[in-house]
């Protein structure tokens, strides 16, 4: 365990020195500034137009969900790109040779790097989420009741996406891994859309295809379930918002967690077999 912490610490130091932390924080801040400006102006205009309280809350909820959708997308991309060369790049450069000849198991190298990057990626999604929730609370007085249930799902989605990128690095070159990891998320994203459209239009086959795709690549289903939890009860029951058309089963959470664990185990096995 001590070696995993040492390697995770090195990953964090390296991320800070390479200004990855700075770039991530700056982008998150920029996003939150834009989001806050949009919320402030929307709320001010609604007040000026004497929009009813219920209508205002509905609009603010929609804005919050759109904000979360964007934040989720940015976080997934961050989680995929962050560790994309952590194994493949260090294998190519030979850096990993001096690590792997130390008295540690190769699994510890994978887990240390995975843990270090995970701390950063989770920090990123939590920073964005906290910013959105705080803005909407301060400006519009809206509390997103489902947030405590939704945030762990977003964190699981980020963990899954990051783990896929780490696993790819144990097997492929950096560029191949980037293409594969982004493509893997893209499939999940499209599957989610297909499922939603199927839900809206009542076309069962589309919904089934979407669900099958979600089983293959479950990342986006975590977002859709999180969004569903963040919808107000009244909208959730009517399915009025886009995320209520086809809600992933809670069992999907277990599958996503299992999928993440299996992927992590695969990355350890692949890295152990890999000629360095």
């Amino acid at each position: 365990m001590r070696d995993i912490i040492t390697l995770a610490h090195l990953t964090l130091v390296e991320a800070r020195r390479r200004r990855i932390v700075f770039a991530g924080a700056a982008c998150a801040l920029a996003f939150l500034v834009v989001f806050s400006i949009a919320v402030v102006f929307a709320h001010r205009e609604m007040l000026a137009d004497r929009v009813s309280f219920v209508e205002r809350q509905g609009t603010l909820t929609a804005i919050t969900l759109v904000g979360f959708m964007a934040a989720n997308f940015l976080s997934v991309i961050f989680a995929i790109l962050l560790p994309i060369d952590t194994l493949s790049g260090e294998i190519d450069s030979g850096v990993v040779q001096t690590l792997a000849t130390k008295p540690i198991d190769r699994a510890q190298i994978v887990l240390g790097k995975w843990a270090g990057h995970l701390i950063l990626a989770l920090g990123y999604v939590l920073l964005l989420s906290a910013g959105i929730l705080l803005t909407i609370r301060v400006v519009g007085g809206l509390t997103v009741a489902g947030a405590p249930r939704a945030l762990p799902l977003l964190m699981l989605e980020i963990t899954l996406s990051l783990t896929v990128a780490v696993a790819g690095g144990a097997r492929f070159s950096t560029v191949t891994n980037a293409i594969a990891a982004v493509g893997f998320y893209g499939v999940s994203f499209i599957g989610g859309f297909v499922e939603q459209i199927g839900g809206f239009s009542g076309i069962t086959s589309m919904r089934t295809i979407g669900i099958i795709v979600s089983l293959i690549s479950p990342a986006d289903s975590m977002w859709r379930l999180a969004a569903h939890y963040m919808e107000p009860e009244i909208l959730r029951s009517t399915g009025a918002l886009a995320f209520g058309a086809s809600v992933p089963s809670p069992l999907m959470v277990w599958w996503a967690a299992g999928f993440t664990l299996l992927t992590l185990l695969y990355s350890i096995a692949a890295f152990r077999r890999r000629a360095l």
């Binding site: 020195r17 040779q97 001096t98």
Partner: protein
């Protein structure tokens, strides 16, 4: 034996990188591992360090099977092109590697200071590696390889990128390791360096050890070149010379060479030739350099890598 391998083989697809590596290295030995590019030297080292899994064969390092974790606490390794995270300083890099060896606290710090002084990097200790020259990187890599006070050190082209002063430094460190009884497995293209530092060397060709040479004992074989005046030596003289040495060859009408065991044999050869009324203008013994041996051993079929 510190290292012992039998029939180690590594195949990548249909390409055989190492065909059949069987060797033994004794404790405290400075061991040279020589061969042309593509001979499988680096792959062999990687198999011994468990960076690459052998396709077949077996081996033991420090008495344990290849890759044994406990054995790795007493092994140091300097890769051919030492690279590490460039944002770290030399001190941070060594502290990080020290922790992976289970070292902590003041004893680790003291060891880091001592090693940085030994590789002449004290002044640059707190500068990021990205500003280091190739030679400085190689030296910090060497310090990293010695951090755990190893019993066995693998040095893969340790002087690659070093200037003459840097090479001298490496040589003196290897001498110190010899004094401390540390075994050094040295892979180098610089045959002169191997000749100066190693006790024994093996030559590897296409993944097989094809020759072994003891370098610590004074080397026996000498090439003796004799230039004759008139009368020129005839076939009978050439036959007669063969009892003093081997490979008797007429290089030109008046020059004959032969390989002899030692310089002590030269007066007898001269006396024998004078007895036969032959005149000699020059008798020149030439010890075969490691480079000559290397070229002889590798044969004419080897092309530059």
């Amino acid at each position: 034996m510190i290292i012992e391998t039998q029939g180690l083989r590594k195949q990548f697809g249909s390409t055989v990188a190492v065909a059949d590596l069987s060797l033994q290295v004794a404790e405290g030995e400075i061991f040279g591992f020589l061969g042309p590019n593509g001979a499988g030297k680096t792959t062999s080292i990687k198999m011994l360090l468990a960076l690459v899994e052998p396709t077949s064969g077996a081996g033991r390092v420090l008495g344990a099977p290849l890759g044994d974790r406990a054995a790795r606490t007493r092994i140091g390794f300097l890769p051919e092109h030492f690279r590490f995270h460039e944002s770290l300083t030399a001190t941070e890099l060594l502290r990080f590697h020290g922790r992976l060896y289970g070292l902590r606290g003041a004893s680790l710090d003291a060891r880091i200071d001592r090693l940085l002084a030994r590789v002449d990097l004290i002044d640059a200790a707190d500068r990021p590696l990205r500003g280091y020259s190739k030679g400085m990187l190689q030296r910090v890599g060497l310090a990293q390889a010695l951090l755990n006070e190893p019993r066995l050190v693998f040095l893969d082209e340790p002087t690659s990128g070093l200037d003459p002063l840097g090479r001298l430094l490496v040589r003196s460190i290897i001498d110190e390791l010899r004094t401390d009884g540390v075994t050094v497995f040295l892979n180098s293209h610089l045959l002169g360096e191997v000749e100066l530092t190693c006790d024994r060397a093996v030559f590897v060709k296409r993944g097989r050890v094809i020759e072994e040479l003891r370098l610590s004992a004074p080397r026996q074989l000498l090439d003796l070149e004799i230039r004759f005046g008139q009368p020129l030596p005839d076939a009978e003289v050439l036959n007669g010379l063969s009892r003093f040495g081997t490979d008797v060859t007429r290089r030109s009408a008046d020059v004959v060479t032969l390989r002899i065991q030692s310089e002590e044999g030269i007066p007898a050869i001269i006396a024998w030739l004078v007895e036969r009324g032959l005149q000699m203008y020059a008798v020149q013994p030439r010890r075969k350099s490691l480079e000559d041996v290397f070229l002889d051993v590798m044969g004419d079929d080897e092309r530059p890598g």
